[in-house]
């Protein structure tokens, strides 16, 4: 969506396609950022008052004092389950409560006992229990070091940039006026009493009782306050907008040092490389949800969403920092500049060589408290699991939402929708969702339909449903101020709108003109909003209508930086405190509405543009209003990879680019890239020419058809990866280093990516490309081109000549990927279709994979209604075992084909099935036993495998394959293509939920 009025554009941009930077603040224009960034390292005024330390079983508290102003802070330290440490710092006695972010953590994180190892006047050493991990609290200046053995993993306030602007009374009103009226008189007084006043002031400054300060001193301090006011502590203006800042300065800041780290990632959303850059020579990375019109690439400007999570990685370890603060936040990154701080004597022996690389990070937020979760890994997957335990995992989406989405601003009317839908059938291109943007509504009144263009939405939805397809309609959070609009009247009468600083309903300019913004931070508002999605409230809606939340940063066309005024009020908090949470709440309330309308049965699908930590629980996100440019195609990779690292797996970019019009080549390349990214939706701006896949000539139509069909063949794999993401928090679309954490060559790769562990994708993102060079990771690995089945060794840069039809995708040797090759009109049409198993052998001639099946759309999988099987190939036997014997589900799908890549030609292939055989062969004692089957064991242990199924259940298991005397044996036909060593086993025909094994002899 375009964030600004057309008028604006014409005036501000004068024909250039780039962000108007002057609409958005630099650090210098954001007073707290400027103030905090001006602090010098190594001058920390904070001292830990060790005598105030209290240690209960799970919690350590300690007061910190700022020796400059004597304000005391309270430090809380927790050791959390799963190798995490939580550090909270708040004012000991704030004037009024400071905002602590609610609703982001899935629960109060469970703690584990802390114990004091040693203590003296310089500090305290605490044990973190695991693997000789300790926290060292140094008293003066205050700092925290987390060490393991001889290694410092992370240090806090090591550069002394902890800053906590305490809440204070505004001292201006009376004396300020006096100041201005009798300024000249003061000057005289000062001149006469200068030496005295300084003397007096210094004498009294140490007194905390300011009421006793004599006149002259008061004058002097008032003068100082006045100077600070100029710095924007109590009032701040940006362009024509002023921020009344009734609470004055309230920023918090803390620095972290990461010894041995050269690579940091995360803190989306930025249009930048996967590996974060140092910010010494420019602005810090900014986290402030903003509707940025025509965003620029490769810079640290804020975008639509914010996840304050950073990952640090080296070959030894991955760690993470989760800075739980929803206010405007800036993150500075520098490298090896502040690494030589003097460690306390307790740390001396752990200090490594001075050559050690180090990354220093500094977080600055405008308000709230310091609440930081330090995730200690040590592996990338541990980090995902640790972060998932805090904020939850990716919601498990309906299978259909992993198909292709056709969107445009706007499909004009029902006839347009019907004819686009028919166009897909005519050109034999599958799709699952067609989308309606804002023009479908009656005058941008969400939950309504344009009475002329969409006069009978249910007929339209039924027409789609008849083809097992779905629709998404947009519902934005800005509500037209119109007394004839039910939604507005209800929100107003219930007092659900965000208030302005003067207590009235906050109003701003957005698509409908004057609009109110519901206060989604209020639980009762969210409950009401959710109820608006019930079929009787949302007229014209049906169960195949889903929702899209746009503009939820929130976007306010006439607000500062195109968003809400920071002094707007949400209950007892300022918008300043909750800003980055607003979009998450909108997304959540909408998702809850979709769940509730089906009585809790159906899985929802909601797309959001704004997001925060935890948004993964509510649905999908996309990278906002990109442009039809090659660089925008390229940046979609690091943008989604960065989101995946911080839990948000369901990510995509507008295929084709939102603004401008793509060349057919760019469009085709974008489809080829998007088809291998999690959220696959084409979208286009209102002013662009139409670009449905068949509008660019038969050749391009064929290319686009082919790649969308490829997407559909991989849906079983995508689906099981999302199931995994839901269970474990592991990203679906993965940076290479996640799977190859010890190979530095992978650390900065962001022109290719993995889907799960087993597919490597190197999209063609250069105009007129004749070839690409893909890096195939893994010394031990082999990779198979999924199109030609050609085998390539790992740990090499492979040059691949490309044509317009090429999409370099490789399946990892050692993997088994289930696919459905019978592509139909939509994913639902393919539900009962058979699987083809692609078994890619590694150098040890083994492979493993999974098969996950459920109904594809309900929450019944939570009640164990699913099939989850593990597929193994070893010793020339391929077998399928149930890894969830407690689960029950039946499927009509069967196995129609097994394709073994890197195979040799067998004499015969024998399939053994056993009807209702219960395999379940594992126990913790590593014994192989028969679970109540009255059959004779024929074959013994075949395979040793480490199963990592449920996150809490990681046991080494011996897997036995049972062949049963009275089991059913049959010989299978097969083809062997010696030129590429591909064995295709014809029609084994067993049910996909069955136990079976297949022996190549």
């Amino acid at each position: 969506m375009v964030p600004v009025l057309v008028v604006w554009l014409a005036l501000c941009l004068s024909g250039t396609w780039a962000v108007d930077r002057s609409n958005f603040k630099t650090c210098d224009q954001s007073s707290f950022c400027k103030r905090q960034r001006a602090l010098k390292p190594g001058e920390s005024p904070y001292r830990a008052l060790l005598e105030t330390m209290e240690l209960t079983n799970t919690r350590l508290t300690l007061q910190l004092i700022n020796d400059n102003n004597k304000v005391r802070l309270l430090l809380e330290l927790y050791r959390l389950q799963g190798n995490m440490t939580r550090v909270k710092i708040n004012e000991l006695k704030p004037l009024k409560p400071r905002y602590e972010v609610p609703d982001v953590l899935v629960r109060e994180p469970p703690t584990e006992p802390l114990s004091v190892l040693s203590q003296d006047e310089n500090g305290v050493v605490l044990s973190l229990g695991v693997e000789s991990q300790r926290v060292i609290v140094s008293a003066q200046p205050f700092r925290l070091d987390i060490v393991e053995g001889h290694n410092v993993l992370m240090s806090l306030n090591s550069r002394g940039l902890l800053a906590f602007e305490h809440l204070r009374m505004r001292k201006d009103t009376f004396s300020y006026k006096v100041t201005s009226t009798v300024a000249s008189l003061w000057d005289n007084i000062k001149r006469v009493f200068s030496s005295l006043s300084v003397h007096l002031c210094s004498a009294f400054m140490s007194s905390s009782d300011m009421t006793c300060v004599p006149l002259v001193c008061t004058l002097q301090t008032t003068k100082e306050e006045e100077e600070k006011v100029e710095e924007g502590m109590w009032e701040e203006t940006f362009k024509s907008h002023s921020d009344s800042k009734p609470n004055g300065p309230s920023a918090v800041s803390l620095d972290f040092s990461l010894p041995g780290v050269e690579h940091v990632y995360g803190i989306p959303e930025h249009a930048d490389t996967l590996r974060l850059k140092t910010t010494d020579n420019g602005d810090p990375y900014r986290l402030y949800n903003l509707d940025v019109f025509q965003y620029e690439l490769y810079n640290p400007m804020a975008l639509y969403g914010a996840v304050p999570v950073m990952l640090a990685h080296n070959t030894q370890r991955t760690t993470g920092i989760f800075w739980l603060n929803a206010a405007e936040t800036w993150v500075d990154i520098s490298s090896n500049t502040a690494g030589k701080t003097v460690f306390g004597k307790m740390l001396d022996y752990v200090q490594g060589s001075s050559e050690t690389p180090q990354t220093d990070v500094r977080w600055i937020s405008e308000s709230g408290i310091i609440d930081v979760f330090i995730m200690l890994g040590p592996t990338p997957k541990d980090i995902f699991s640790q972060y998932a335990s805090l904020t939850g995992t990716q919601s498990f989406p309906p299978l259909s939402s992993l198909g292709y989405h056709q969107c445009r601003w706007n499909y004009n009317d029902q006839e347009d929708v019907r004819s686009v839908d028919a166009g897909f059938d005519e050109h034999d291109i599958p799709y699952d969702f067609i989308w309606l943007d804002i023009e479908h509504t009656d005058g941008k009144r969400y939950f309504t339909w344009d009475p002329h263009k969409f006069a009978s939405p249910k007929d339209m939805l039924q027409g789609l449903k008849d083809k097992k397809r779905n629709m998404v309609a947009i519902v934005d959070p800005h509500i037209k101020v119109d007394s004839n609009y039910k939604i507005h009247n209800e929100i107003r009468s219930r007092g659900f709108y965000v208030k302005n600083k003067d207590g009235g309903d906050y109003e701003g300019w957005c698509w409908p003109g004057n609009a109110g913004y519901p206060d989604f931070t209020q639980p009762d508002m969210r409950a009401w909003w959710a109820s608006m999605f019930s079929y009787d409230q949302y007229e014209g809606s049906m169960d195949n209508l889903y929702t899209w939340n746009d503009m939820n940063e929130p976007s306010v066309f006439n607000g500062p930086e195109v968003t809400m005024h920071k002094d707007a009020v949400h209950g007892s908090w300022e918008h300043r405190d909750v800003h980055n949470l607003y979009g998450l709440y909108v997304h959540r309330a909408t998702m809850e509405g979709l769940i509730q309308r089906s009585g809790g049965v159906e899985r929802p699908f909601v797309l959001t543009r704004a997001f925060f930590a935890g948004s993964q629980r509510y649905g999908a996100v996309w990278t906002g209003d990109n442009a039809a440019e090659w660089d925008h195609l390229k940046i979609s990779i690091p943008m989604c990879l960065s989101l995946g690292l911080v839990g948000i797996s369901f990510c995509g970019a507008d295929v084709g680019g939102f603004f401008k019009s793509p060349s057919p080549e760019l469009l085709v390349r974008w489809y080829q890239t998007g088809a291998y990214q999690p959220f696959f939706r084409a979208h286009a701006h209102l002013d662009t020419p139409r670009r449905e896949p068949w509008l660019f000539g038969p050749e391009n139509t064929a290319l686009i058809r082919e790649v969308i069909r490829q997407r559909y063949t991989f849906l079983p794999y995508w689906y099981q990866l999302f199931y995994h993401a839901y269970r474990t928090g592991e990203p679906v679309m993965r940076a290479l280093w996640v799977e190859y954490p010890q190979d530095p060559a992978t650390f900065a790769v962001d022109d290719e990516f993995l889907i799960g562990r087993d597919l490597l994708v190197h999209p063609v993102t250069e105009e007129g490309a004749r070839g690409v060079t893909a890096f195939l990771p893994g010394k031990e690995e082999v990779w198979f081109d999924i199109h030609t089945f050609q085998k390539h060794n790992g740990a090499q840069n492979l040059y691949i000549p490309v044509t317009m039809s090429s999409i370099p995708v490789f399946q990892r040797g050692g993997s088994i990927i289930p696919r459905k090759l019978r592509v139909r009109r939509s994913s639902a049409c393919m539900e009962h279709d058979p699987y083809t198993l692609f078994v890619a052998l590694n150098t040890r001639r083994t492979a493993e994979g999974e098969l996950y099946i459920d109904d594809g759309h309900t929450f019944n999988f939570d009640n164990k209604e699913f099939i989850h099987r593990r597929l193994f190939f070893s010793n020339n036997v391929l077998s399928s075992v149930n890894v969830a014997p407690e689960a029950q589900f039946t499927t009509k799908s069967w196995i129609e084909r097994v394709v073994i890549l890197g195979a040799s030609k067998p004499r015969k292939v024998t399939l053994i099935t056993a009807g209702k055989l219960k395999t379940a062969v594992c126990n913790k004692e590593n014994k192989v036993f028969n679970v109540g089957c009255s059959f004779q064991v024929v074959l013994s242990v075949l395979h040793e495998q480490c199963l990592k199924e449920a996150p809490v259940f990681r046991v080494k298991i011996y897997f036995a394959l049972f062949l049963f005397a009275d089991g059913h044996k049959s010989q299978l036909d097969f083809d062997f293509d010696a030129s590429v060593s591909v064995l295709t086993i014809r029609k084994p025909s067993m049910n996909a939920g069955e136990d079976w094994s297949m022996a190549l002899q």
């Binding site: 009025l5 057309v6 008028v7 014409a10 005036l11 004009n412 009317d413 006839e415 347009d416 034999d428 002329h452 008849d466 083809k467 097992k468 209102l686 002013d687 662009t688 020419p689 139409r690 069909r709 090759l821 019978r822 592509v823 139909r824 009109r825 639902a828 049409c829 393919m830 009962h832 279709d833 058979p834 129609e896 084909r897 014809r986 029609k987």
Partner: protein, 528 residues
């Protein structure tokens, strides 16, 4: 006819022996029971039991005509009672009813009804309706063709006539030109005479006035009244400093003015007078640059006009309304009439100084009147000729215009058809332009001017293209595609904007109607 064929078809299927599911009758011979089957592309041969065994063996999909196993296969719907058809294999058993005889969903659990007869009935009804329309439309079309033919003939006749009358007019124009030129020569001479006499008279008067003034100035300069103007006396008039820039009028300079002598008498002053005439400022000066007062009242006129200027400078129209408003702005600019009145006052001022030329004497006036009459007659004749030229051009254009194979679209020429929607009134003036005007006020937007016939090959006259309309913000110029379908009425039935600034208009006209064809019959033929 069609029913007969259908019954025949029914009979055939009744006696039909087995053929694999999804195989059309025409291909049945390739699927010989219990004999090895060779894929239709010849790529391989497989046992007969692998036909329709739900596994794709042939690259061309020909072994699985009745299942969804092959990605590129086709399933044949017999559709008894309706038109047989092929559907992609991917539509077999996908839970969606595609064949009207429901044969594609034999194993999906979808409950499909056989709707072939119902479909046929509906199609027949609508076909009949269409056929009726086509029939009536076709009749109307014949009339249109006749009319066009008549119209064309009329126009050609008219063209002939006009071309003839043009010759007469041309002769006439030439004759009148000669007459005009003949009358203008004596007029010119008489006028010049009159002017010359008046100018001579004026010169005499001016000279007399100058002499009087010179005398007055001499007396004024001759401050001591000694009958001489001396250097000293001259020096009191610093405005006469020849190099006024240096600010000092020296004695030497004054003496030089006086021709190198110290003083001059009246006679000698005459030569000096010509040098100082322009500079001299009278001591009793009140009438110098004063006479501004009188014209001032006239100058006020445009000022008051300026006040009523409807668009003050600071009220710049918003960019938002870009294209519509731009036109209006230009109109307002055209109406800028600040300058003409100023020149008007200047002219008047000159007139008053020069004095009015005396009226022509009767003889001259007679010559002028005669010349004017000749001029008027000539211009009148020329205008008539121009009109005829226009007429010829228009006629020729219309005659040569592509109004379709039989000029059946000629009747649309210079007509306009409107359609009112929720917001706009759309106006199609065939072969001219398409426009859109907001229903509730606002200026008209050009959606394209006539471009070309743009239908597909073989049916070029089914689509009109109007191009180069008003430009879109950051987009193309507006354009409109008009799709013509057969109808009894000539009417715009719908408009839409499928893509930004690319409009689509549906337009019915009898001129598109074809003689009712037997489409359905030909389909059946193909199948059998």
């Amino acid at each position: 006819m069609f029913w007969y064929l259908l019954l025949l078809w029914g009979g055939i299927s009744a006696v039909e022996v087995q053929r694999p599911r999804g195989v059309p009758l025409s291909k049945r011979p390739f699927y010989e029971e219990n004999k090895p089957f060779t894929c239709l592309d010849g790529s391989r041969t497989i046992p007969f039991d692998r036909i329709n065994d739900d596994y794709c063996d042939c690259q061309d999909g020909s072994d699985e005509p009745g299942t969804a196993a092959c990605p590129n296969g086709n399933f044949h719907c017999t559709n008894a009672g309706f038109r047989p058809t092929f559907i992609p294999s991917s539509h077999v058993n996908d839970g969606i009813c595609d064949c009207c005889d429901a044969t594609d969903e034999y194993n999906s659990g979808a409950e499909c009804q056989n709707t072939c007869r119902e479909l046929w009935r509906k199609e027949k009804e609508s076909m009949q309706k269409l056929a009726e329309i086509a029939k009536e439309g076709f009749l109307l079309k014949q009339q249109l063709i006749q009319e066009a033919k008549r119209g064309l003939e009329e126009k050609q006749t008219k063209l002939g006539e006009v071309q003839n009358s043009k010759k007469d007019l041309e002769t006439n124009v030439e004759a009148l030109r000669t007459a005009k030129e003949a009358a203008e020569q004596p007029e010119k001479e008489a006028k010049e005479r009159h002017l010359k006499a008046w100018e001579e008279q004026n010169a005499a008067i001016r000279m007399e006035k100058d002499k009087v003034r010179m005398a007055e100035v001499f007396i004024e300069l001759d401050a001591d009244g000694d009958g001489f103007v001396s250097v000293a006396e001259l020096l009191s008039h610093s405005e006469m400093d020849p190099d006024s820039s240096d600010g000092s009028f020296t004695e030497a300079e004054a003496q030089e003015l006086l021709g190198g002598v110290d003083k001059v008498n009246t006679a000698a002053f005459e030569t000096i007078w010509s040098k100082i005439r322009e500079k001299y400022v009278s001591e009793s000066n009140t009438d110098g640059p004063a006479p501004v007062e009188t014209p001032q009242e006239e100058v006020r006129e445009p000022v008051s006009d300026n006040d009523s200027e409807p668009y003050p400078d600071d009220d710049i129209p918003e960019e938002e309304d870009e294209d519509e408003d731009e036109d209006e702005d230009e109109d307002m600019d055209d109406g800028d009439y600040k300058s003409p009145p100023v020149t008007r006052t200047d002219e008047k001022k000159d007139d008053s100084e020069e004095g009015a030329m005396p009226p022509y004497d009767q003889e001259t006036q007679n010559l002028i009147d005669a010349a004017q009459k000749a001029r008027n007659e000539f211009e009148e004749a020329e205008r008539a000729l121009r009109e005829v030229d226009d007429q010829i051009r228009n006629l020729e254009k219309e005659i040569s215009f592509d109004f379709g194979p039989s000029s059946e679209f000629a009747y649309l020429y210079s007509q306009c058809y409107e359609l009112t929607t929720g917001e706009y009134v759309y106006r199609l003036c065939p072969f001219n332009r398409v426009s859109q005007k907001p229903k509730y006020g606002g200026s008209e937007t050009n959606l394209g001017t006539w471009g070309k016939w743009a239908g597909p090959e073989g049916n070029v006259y089914s689509v009109m293209k109007y191009e180069q309309g008003t430009g879109c913000w950051q987009g193309p110029n507006r354009s409109t595609t008009v799709k013509l379908t057969c109808g009894k009425e000539t009417v715009v039935t719908s408009t839409s904007e499928p893509s930004r600034c690319e409009y689509l208009m549906e337009f019915t006209s009898p001129a598109v109607c074809q003689e009712a064809p037997d489409l359905e019959v030909s389909d059946i033929h193909e199948e059998l």
